[in-house]
């Protein structure tokens, strides 16, 4: 029976000691410890959340970058294409112009040639008329001297003319 009878002394001291322990630990141990654990847990949660957000932000930036890259590539292609068309245009233009220019030059040359020809012909005609006059003069003069000789001369002259 002794074993299961609580003794007043031990009950008293236990109550006193336990209440003191409870008050002391509550003030000096549990409050700071639980507070610190709670704070740490919160900061860890926060850090994890932030990491998650950063990850999302990163993914967003990456996809944005990709978009930009694609856009830039398309733009470059566009520019290249435009440049090519422009180049072709310029080339064609130049070619056409060159052709026109050439044709013009040829035309001019032709005209020049024609003119020269006409001038030469006119000169020839002049000379022919001069020669004819000379011939006629000479014929007239020779006729006055000798009949046969006159005929020979004329024949000679005619031969000359034909050659011309």
């Amino acid at each position: 029976m002794d074993l299961v009878t609580p003794s007043i002394g031990l009950v008293f001291w236990t109550s006193l000691a336990f209440i003191c322990l409870l008050i002391l630990l509550r003030k000096f141990a549990w409050k700071p410890i639980l507070g610190a654990i709670h704070e740490r847990e919160q900061s860890i949660d926060e850090a994890l959340n932030k990491a998650e957000l950063a990850k999302q932000e990163m993914a967003r930036l990456t996809s944005q970058n990709q978009d930009l890259m694609q856009q830039a590539r398309a733009e470059r292609d566009e520019i290249l294409k435009e440049a090519k068309t422009l180049k072709d245009g310029i080339l064609n233009e130049a070619k056409k112009q060159a052709q026109v220019e050439g044709a013009k030059l040829i035309e001019k040359a032709k005209i020049e040639i024609e003119n020269q020809k006409k001038a030469a012909l006119a000169e020839v005609k002049d000379q022919v008329s001069t020669l004819s006059l000379e011939i006629a003069e000479r014929v007239l003069r020779t006729q006055l001297d000798d009949k046969t000789k006159q005929e020979a001369l004329v024949a000679n002259l005619l031969k000359d003319v034909e050659l011309n």
Partner: protein, 374 residues
């Protein structure tokens, strides 16, 4: 409930161990009784070595005196006014008595292990079976004299030691938290923190709910107070060796604390459940007394459970040690020591388990009292 299974298996284990022990004892006593005469020559050797090994006092001290295991074990289980250190050395503890005349304080060394009476200011006192009794004028014990014994007994002193250790441990851990704000725990801190988080997340939160924070100091203090005292009780030498949590007075106070906390915090649903349960009114004469008994029986079970578990463990360990002195042979010592080792490991588990169960049930009762019904 999970803990029910734990309890049942635990009780089964203890029963099995007890049965084995009894079987072991009954067989061995017969064999050794027959071989008694052959054992006699080693007698003195055993007595000497026994003293050297365990320092158990009592019958063995006087060599030929009959060894009474029950007396020795009960002496160790019960409280004492002396704290036995080793051999014949004991630490005298203060005796504080509240008598008719007033307060009386003196050292228990004055009793000289109960061989002398002490003449105090108001009465003469005698130490009989570790209880302080008043001696009447005729030289006999006066049973009618009302003396309240507030002595710092072995259990009180051991409890104070445990409390000092608890305070040192937890205040230093709290200091570590202040010093290393926001950093990972280190050293003792990292050993204590999981236990604190365990108490918070696995005991308080699931059982009490969102109001758990208010009860955390009580639950944590209860848990570590019981745990440290359990573990100190397992240490066979000073400053352990006292059966603190295996004393009904301590478990009574702990259970009383739980009862007070539960009933102070009981909300209207809790009281309605007791005084106006959802049963036909003609059942009230049965239900209300049953519920009122329930208020007492829950902490009562807590009190008995802790007391019985720890005391049973101590009794088993001491019984196994006593086997050496019962058989008066060293041959049994390896068996005893092996069993004691096994029991000590089991008791270490029980130390944690009982602290856990006490705290868990306290949290459960608090949870039942503060639960909101919608």
């Amino acid at each position: 409930m999970d803990c029910n299974q734990v309890l049942v298996s635990k009780v089964k284990k203890v029963i099995v161990v007890f049965t084995l022990l009894i079987a072991f004892l009954s067989i061995k006593i017969d064999t050794f009784a027959q071989a008694d005469s052959a054992v006699v020559p080693v007698d003195s050797v055993v007595a000497e070595s026994a003293e050297a090994v365990s320092g158990q006092h009592g019958a063995v001290e006087h060599g030929k005196e009959k060894f009474e295991p029950t007396k020795v074990i009960m002496e160790h289980i019960a409280d004492s006014h002396m704290w036995h250190l080793w051999g014949h050395t004991s630490l005298p503890l203060p005796v504080i008595l509240y008598t008719n005349g007033g307060l009386e304080v003196f050292s228990s060394a004055n009793f000289h292990h109960g061989e002398h009476d002490y003449v105090g200011k108001y009465n003469t006192y005698r130490l009989e079976e570790d209880h302080v009794k008043v001696v009447g004028a005729d030289g006999k014990i006066d049973e009618d004299a009302s003396v309240l014994d507030f002595s710092i007994t072995k259990n009180v002193a051991a409890m104070f030691v445990a409390i000092v250790v608890i305070l040192i441990v937890f205040i230093s851990v709290a200091g570590a938290y202040k010093k290393r704000v926001g950093k990972s725990p280190k050293g003792l801190q990292s050993f204590i923190e999981p236990i604190i988080i365990f108490v918070r997340d696995d005991i308080a939160k699931p059982n009490i709910g969102h109001k758990y924070a208010k009860f955390m100091p009580y639950l944590l203090t209860t848990f570590f107070f019981i745990l440290f005292n359990n573990i100190f009780g397992l240490i066979p030498i000073f400053p352990g060796g006292a059966n603190v949590t295996g004393n009904i007075a301590l478990t009574f106070v702990m259970a009383l604390g739980t009862m007070i906390i539960v009933n102070i915090n009981g909300n209207k649903y809790y009281w309605k459940h007791i005084f106006k349960p959802d049963v036909p009114f003609w059942l009230y004469p049965i239900m209300i007394p049953v519920e009122l008994i329930g208020i007492i029986s829950k902490p009562f079970a807590l009190m008995i459970r802790l007391f019985a578990n720890i005391t049973a463990g101590h009794i088993i360990v001491l019984s196994l040690i006593s086997l050496i002195f019962i058989f008066e042979t060293l041959a049994i010592a390896p068996v005893s020591v092996a069993f004691v080792l096994f029991m000590d490991v089991l008791e270490l588990l029980v130390a944690f388990l009982q602290a856990f169960i006490f705290t868990l049930l306290t949290a459960l009762f608090i949870g039942m009292a503060v639960e909101e019904h919608h």
